[in-house]
C-alpha cells in the first residue's frame, strides 16, 4: 500500500490513473443507465421531477470527459507508455508526476461528493451562466473540480513535454518516435495553452456567483456569451486532447497486429497530428452557431470547422492504409482498434452537417448532436482506451487476459453502443431536444427511446464483462510470453516483463535505422 501511495514511478502512476479513471467511468456509466431508464417511457419513470435527473446529467458529462477520457488517455496511457517508448528511465519530474495523479484523485473525490452534499451542482458539464450563477445548486463544486483537474493536466503537460524533448534514448531522432508519442505531444500542447482559459472562465463564474461580480450579468455591463466563448475556447480543443491520443493508440495497435509500419508516417505526424492541433484551436465558435452571436462570425467558423476535415482525413487515410498488405490477426486489442475505423467514420462524417452553420441551426441541441459526439468522442475514444488496456495488459501485469470472454465483451459493447446511439440520430433529425427529462411534445419517440435504453443495458453487460476480464487476468491470468504480439516498439523489445524500477536493465541506445515500426524490410528511412 505504502509503495503505491508514495510512488514516483511513472508505471505505477499510470496504473493509479487507470484505476481512478475507470472508477469515474463506472460511476458516470451508472448515471448514463439511470438517464436511459428515465427516458425509456413517457412521463416520470424513475424520479418524480428533473432535480435529481439534472444532477445525473451533470455528473455523467463532467466525469466522462474530465475524469475518464482525458485522464485515461493523457494520464494512464501517456504515463505508462511514453518513457518506455522513448527509452527513458522515468519522466523528467517524477515527484511532480506523483503530485498530478493525487490532484486527479482528489478531484474525483470532490466530484463524487456531488452525491452527498445537500445542493449538488446541476449546471451540466458546460456550466453556462446566468443559470449556473442563479441556481441553488452548488456551482463551486463544479468550479473546484475543474480547477483541480486542470492543474493536474497542466503539470502533466509540462512534465511530458520536457520528458520527450530531453530524455529520448541516445540516437533517437524525432522521426523515430512512436505515433502515440506524437499524438500525446500534440494533446499536451493544447492542454498547456488552452486550460488556463477554461480555468479563468469558471473562476469568473465563481466570482459572479459568490462575490457579486457581474462578468456575465448584462444588467451591469456583463455579457452571457463571453462565458460560452471562453468555455469552448478550451473545451473544443479538448475534443482533440481526447481524439489525438485515441488515434495514437489505434495506430499503435493497427501497426502491431498488421505487422506494418504506420502508413505515410511523416504526413501523419506533421500534417495529420500537428494540422489538427493548429486548426483545432480555431473552430470553437461552432458550439455557438445558435447562440445569438453575430452572423458573420458564424460563417467564418463554418469555414475553419470544415477545414478540420483535411488533417482528420489524413489521419483516417493513415489508419486504413496501415492495414494495406498487412498480416492481420484479430486478437482483442485489434478488434477494438478495427471497430473504431467504422465508428470514426460514423462519428466524423456526421460532424460535416454540424460544421455547416445553416444545417446546425436545426440540428443543434438535438439528439443528432448528442449521438454524433458520443460516436466520435465517447465511443471511439473509450474503445481506444480499451484497445490500449488489452494491448499493454501483458506488459503491465506480466499476465494474459482471457481471450474468449474479452471477445464476448467486445461484441456486446459494439452491438450495444450502436443500438443505443444509431436510432437517436433519427429522432434528433425529427427534433428531439437533448438534456430533456421528459418529452410530452413528442410521444411518438417513445419506442425509439426504449430501444436505446435496451442498447444501454447491453453495453452495461459488455462493460462489466470487460472490466472483469482485466481484474481476473491481473490476478489469475496465465503468465504472458515476452512480446506476445511480436511488436518492434521499444516498450516490448527492451523491457523485462513487467518492467521494473528504472524500466530498462541496460539504458537503450538506438541506431539511425531503428524505428518502432521495423516490420519486414522497413527501416526508419523507409517510413
Amino acid at each position: 500500500m505504502k509503495e503505491w501511495i508514495f510512488t514516483t514511478d511513472h508505471k505505477r502512476i499510470g496504473i493509479l490513473y487507470l484505476v481512478g479513471s475507470i472508477a469515474a467511468f463506472a460511476v458516470a456509466g451508472i448515471m448514463a443507465l439511470l438517464i436511459r431508464v428515465e427516458l425509456s417511457s413517457l412521463g416520470p419513470t424513475l424520479v418524480e421531477d428533473a432535480s435529481q435527473y439534472n444532477v445525473w446529467l451533470y455528473f455523467h458529462g463532467a466525469a466522462m470527459i474530465l475524469a475518464f477520457l482525458i485522464p485515461g488517455l493523457t494520464g494512464f496511457v501517456a504515463n505508462y507508455c511514453i518513457p518506455l517508448m522513448i527509452g527513458a528511465h522515468d519522466v523528467a519530474f517524477p515527484r511532480i508526476n506523483a503530485f498530478s495523479v493525487w490532484l486527479f484523485w482528489f478531484a474525483i473525490v470532490l466530484a463524487l461528493l456531488t452525491f452527498v452534499i445537500p445542493d449538488p451542482p446541476d449546471v451540466l458539464w458546460t456550466g453556462y451562466p446566468p443559470y449556473s450563477v442563479q441556481t441553488d445548486g452548488n456551482t463551486a463544486f463544479y468550479v473546484f473540480t475543474v480547477h483541480l483537474l486542470g492543474f493536474s493536466s497542466i503539470l502533466g503537460a509540462v512534465n511530458f513535454l520536457c520528458t520527450v524533448i530531453y530524455m529520448r534514448a541516445p540516437g533517437m531522432g524525432w522521426n523515430q518516435l512512436n505515433v502515440f508519442v506524437w499524438t500525446t505531444l500534440g494533446a499536451f500542447v493544447i492542454q498547456l495553452v488552452m486550460i488556463p482559459v477554461l480555468a479563468s472562465a469558471v473562476t469568473l463564474l465563481l466570482f459572479d456567483k459568490y462575490l457579486g461580480t457581474t462578468f456575465f450579468n448584462p444588467e451591469n455591463g456583463g455579457d452571457v456569451l463571453l462565458y460560452q466563448n471562453l468555455f469552448w475556447f478550451y473545451s473544443h480543443p479538448a475534443v482533440y486532447v481526447i481524439l489525438l491520443p485515441a488515434v495514437g493508440i489505434i495506430l499503435e495497435v493497427l501497426a502491431t497486429f498488421a505487422r506494418n509500419p504506420v502508413f505515410n508516417y511523416k504526413v501523419t505526424v506533421y500534417g495529420g497530428i500537428w494540422g489538427t492541433v493548429l486548426l483545432g484551436s480555431d473552430v470553437w465558435a461552432h458550439h455557438l452557431y445558435t447562440s445569438g452571436m453575430v452572423d458573420w462570425l458564424r460563417i467564418g467558423m463554418m469555414v475553419t470547422t470544415l477545414l478540420i476535415s483535411l488533417p482528420v482525413g489524413l489521419l483516417t487515410i493513415s489508419l486504413v492504409g496501415t492495414l494495406y498488405k498487412g498480416s492481420i490477426s484479430f486478437k482483442t486489442p485489434m478488434v477494438y482498434a478495427t471497430s473504431t475505423l467504422f465508428l470514426i467514420l460514423l462519428g466524423g462524417l456526421t460532424g460535416i452537417p454540424l460544421a455547416m452553420t445553416s444545417l446546425t441551426v436545426h440540428l443543434a441541441e438535438t439528439y443528432f448532436v448528442m449521438a454524433h459526439f458520443h460516436y466520435i468522442m465517447g465511443i471511439t475514444a473509450t474503445f481506444a482506451v480499451f484497445a490500449g488496456v488489452y494491448y499493454w495488459f501483458p506488459l503491465m501485469t506480466g499476465k494474459m487476459y482471457n481471450e474468449t470472454y474479452s471477445q464476448i465483451g467486445f461484441w456486446l459493447n459494439f452491438i450495444g453502443v450502436n443500438l443505443t446511439f444509431w436510432p437517436l440520430f433519427g429522432i434528433g433529425i425529427d427534433g428531439m431536444p437533448r438534456r430533456y427529462f421528459d418529452y410530452q411534445m413528442y410521444p411518438e419517440f417513445e419506442s425509439t427511446q426504449m430501444l436505446s435504453t435496451v442498447g444501454a443495458f447491453i453495453v452495461a453487460a459488455g462493460m462489466a464483462i470487460t472490466i472483469l476480464t482485466w481484474i481476473h487476468g491481473a490476478i489469475l491470468g496465465e503468465k504472458a510470453k515476452p512480446n506476445p504480439w511480436g511488436s518492434k516498439s521499444m516498450e516490448w523489445t527492451h523491457c523485462e516483463y513487467p518492467p521494473g524500477p528504472g524500466n530498462f536493465p541496460t539504458p537503450p541506445e538506438v541506431t539511425a535505422e531503428w524505428s518502432p515500426y521495423n516490420y519486414g524490410k522497413h527501416t526508419a528511412q523507409s517510413l
Binding site: A258, R259, D295, M302, L314, T338, L349, M356, E365, S526
Partner: protein, 229 residues
C-alpha cells in the same frame, strides 16, 4: 503510375474550381425547403465517403488476414513523391468538398438570417419556464398563433437565463438570453399545428417549456387577433 497521379491531380483541381461555381443559383424564399434540399445533398456526400472508406477497410481486413504465425506485413515503402501525393491529392479532394459545402451552407444561411420585408413581427419573452408572445396590437398569448402564407419573425430576449427558441418542423433555432435581442423567422405554408421547444438547458422544468405553434387561415387569425386575451 505517375500519369495516374497527374490525372487525379487535374481532376481534383478542376473540381476545386468547378464545384463552388456550380453552387450558384436562385435564393429560395422558404428556408425550410432549402434546408431539406441541402440536407439531402449532405447526406449523399457523407454516405459516399463512408461507403468508400468502409469498403476499402473491409476489403483490407478480409484480404490481408494473417495466414501463418510468423508472417510479416508487406506494405510498400513510399517514395517522397508518392507520400506527398497521398497527402496533396486527398487534401484537394477534401478541400473541394469543403468549399462546395461552405458555399451552399452560406447561401442557406443568408436565407435564414435575412428577414423578408413583409414579415409579421411577434415579440417573445422567455422566462423560467414559459414563453410569452406579444403582437403588434398589444395582444399577448401563450401559444404562438400565426396566419398562413406570410413570413413571421419572432424577436425578443429572456428575463432570466439563456433559453433556446426552436421550431424543429421549420428547421430553425436561435438562443434567447438577457442583454441581447435575438430573432428567428419562418414561413408557415399550411394551416396546422407545430411544436415550439426550449433547447438551451434552463434547469428544473426545461423539458416542460414548450408550446404550440398554431397556423390559422388569414380570416381565423384576424378574428383571433381582434379578441382580447
Amino acid at each position: 503510375m505517375t500519369i495516374w497521379f497527374r490525372v487525379v491531380a487535374m481532376v481534383s483541381a478542376v473540381a476545386l474550381w468547378a464545384v463552388p461555381a456550380m453552387a450558384e443559383g436562385k435564393p429560395l424564399q422558404d428556408h425550410t425547403e432549402h434546408w431539406n434540399t441541402l440536407w439531402h445533398h449532405v447526406i449523399l456526400d457523407m454516405t459516399a465517403i463512408a461507403v468508400v472508406f468502409a469498403a476499402i477497410t473491409i476489403w483490407f481486413l478480409v484480404k490481408y488476414k494473417r495466414t501463418s504465425e510468423d508472417q510479416e506485413g508487406d506494405s510498400p515503402s513510399l517514395s517522397f513523391g508518392a507520400s506527398m501525393a497521398w497527402a496533396i491529392i486527398p487534401i484537394f479532394l477534401f478541400l473541394a468538398d469543403d468549399f462546395y459545402l461552405a458555399a451552399n451552407g452560406w447561401k442557406l444561411w443568408n436565407d435564414q438570417r435575412q428577414v423578408p420585408e413583409n414579415a409579421m413581427e411577434v415579440k417573445v419573452t422567455a422566462s423560467m419556464w414559459s414563453w410569452e408572445y406579444e403582437y403588434e396590437n398589444g395582444k399577448t398569448s401563450e401559444d404562438l398563433v400565426v396566419p398562413v402564407g406570410a413570413p413571421v419573425v419572432v424577436r425578443g430576449s429572456s428575463d432570466d437565463v439563456v433559453h433556446g427558441m426552436s421550431l424543429a418542423d421549420f428547421r430553425i433555432k436561435e438562443d434567447i438570453m438577457p442583454g441581447r435581442i435575438t430573432y428567428l423567422w419562418f414561413y408557415p405554408k399550411e394551416v396546422g399545428e407545430h411544436v415550439w421547444t426550449c433547447t438551451e438547458y434552463c434547469g428544473l422544468n426545461h423539458s416542460d417549456m414548450y408550446n404550440k405553434v398554431v397556423v390559422k387561415s388569414k380570416a381565423d387569425f384576424d378574428s383571433w387577433l381582434g379578441t382580447k386575451g
